[in-house]
Symmetry: C2
Subunit: 317 residues, 2 copies
């Protein structure tokens, strides 16, 4: 946990800023960056946005999302990493070698955050969007409807619409405040949850048919072949780890996904008694205690056995 002072000082009199979202962006990193962008623009700050990967199609409704460049800085005075637990999460959108001299802010809610900025605001809310809301308040910036819509998207996506175990009354109160500021909840939930392409089922059908159980661990595997059959991008698997975690037998749920580069993306979910963030860190990844991931060396069968062994140890401990 860290106090608001340093980030407030960093942004108070800034004229131009670059906001960087994390690789493989989700609703919280994009919504939080845009929410802050609209607030800063509202007080005359020149804001640029960068994200190494394109926004998922379901987030195209976010006002201003088309403004993200894949690499960003021209001559902004300050860079702020949004929802990034370490510097690597910014990917090629952050050119560390040439940017050494620029002040770097960090706004993030991951407990694994490495405090890699010169001014870090890290706290344990369910979404980074709520921390951006606190920064907006601390700087007495007005909260307009665009900003509110972007920030509400961050809360909704990171809590799976108030369903995660880390959803407290604070998340509901913040959401209600954003709605009262002009955000529309049904626009967010409709865009995020009601527009999956039917072709997704070509991946989910076999993935669900292939679910396996080993004690408290429930897992499935996605091959490159299965993904190719959908005709969709990598986002076709979004939501599958969370879905597996809803089964009673799954104290830990894991999805193993083959990547083009030969590595395997490992996405883990757990009940509160089991910490998968420590397993993810040991594998070179990161995340939250109940939702973490890592990219490990393939092939699939090798990655699976290695990760399942580590998880069995975590379940027993």
């Amino acid at each position: 946990m860290s106090a608001l002072g340093p980030i407030k000082a960093l942004l108070r009199d800034v004229q131009s800023v670059l906001l960087v979202a994390h690789v493989m962006p989700d609703g919280d990193t994009l919504g939080s960056a845009l929410g802050l962008a609209w607030a800063l623009r509202g007080r005359g700050v020149q804001v640029r946005l960068a994200c190494a990967d394109p926004a998922p199609a379901i987030l195209a409704f976010l006002p201003g999302v088309e403004g993200f460049a894949d690499r960003g800085r021209t001559d902004e005075q300050v860079v702020v990493a949004i929802d990034c637990s370490d510097q690597a999460r910014m990917g090629r959108a952050f050119e560390g070698e040439t940017w050494q001299s620029v002040p770097l802010g960090v706004i993030d809610h991951h407990v694994t955050n490495t405090r890699f900025g010169t001014a870090n605001y890290v706290a344990d809310t369910a979404s980074t969007a709520q921390l951006v809301l606190q920064v907006i308040d601390a700087l007495d910036m007005p909260l307009d409807a665009r900003s509110a819509q972007c920030l509400l998207t961050g809360i909704v996506t990171d809590t799976r619409c108030f369903r995660t175990n880390n959803t407290t009354p604070a998340e509901l109160r913040d959401a209600l405040r954003l709605i009262e500021a002009g955000a529309t909840l049904t626009d967010v939930t409709d865009a995020v949850y009601n527009h999956l392409p039917l072709a997704t089922l070509r991946l989910w059908g076999p993935a669900l048919a292939g679910v396996r159980q080993q004690g408290d661990i429930v897992w499935t595997e996605l091959t490159l072949e299965m993904l190719a059959a959908t005709g969709l991008g990598a986002e076709a698997s979004d939501g599958l780890p969370n879905y597996l975690s809803t089964f009673d037998e799954a104290r830990v749920a894991v999805v193993f996904e083959e990547l083009e580069d030969g590595r395997v993306d490992v996405s883990m979910r757990s009940v509160p008694a089991i910490d998968v963030a420590s397993v993810a860190r040991a594998l070179g990844g990161g995340g939250h205690p109940q939702a973490s991931g890592a990219k490990v060396a393939g092939p699939l069968a090798v990655a699976r056995e290695r990760v399942l062994a580590a998880l069995q140890a975590a379940v027993r401990s």
Copy 2:
């Protein structure tokens, strides 16, 4: 819509009451009945509860849910139907012939409600639980934590945790008030969404593999054989109609499910522009404009063609 006056008058000085939930009970009918029961008991009223069918296993956490009898009245002064759109929804828990003389209250949020009571409170909220909260307030009854937990369950289950298109700021505000009165959101969402038996996949796998599309309509069929393969009860299909409705191509989503008695249970979901309640009514069923159902004559193929034709007409109109 109807005013609070009659139901308030009915309950103001009552000494004993029977609360009746609807057949095939869900979180809103059970949570609303229990929420009202705890409030009435708090002011010394003798309350009995009845529901023709047993509570689903995932709702076993509701305080007092074990108190429902499958048929109910002994000598209570008043009967109140909770979340029932017509008298038939009470099933055998309501013995109309012998109870003609008893005053009958109705508290319900279905737009198709037939006002079959002597005192009806029907209004267009996302859940009946919110109307019970209004009744509790109107009668100046205290709201305890048990009551709040039961009512929050009604809001959460009927809005799929704030995801339905009829979720307005009022639903969030009511939920927050219940949480402030002692309800715990994560207890509700964990029980309702995180404890599906893994055997459910034996039904969902084939059901999703068998999804078909006809223009704006996406549907699947569940046979008795598929259900038997799960080893689970009829609740194994709960959530499937909602899940189908999340696909982009599905302006209407339908699940056809074979019943033991040879009929077919038809469960329909739609986007706001299409009214499936009118189709359901024409088939002898009922529900909400965007979520309705009916039980129609089998066999499956006949039911399917009949319903798809009716839905195609509704989509075109």
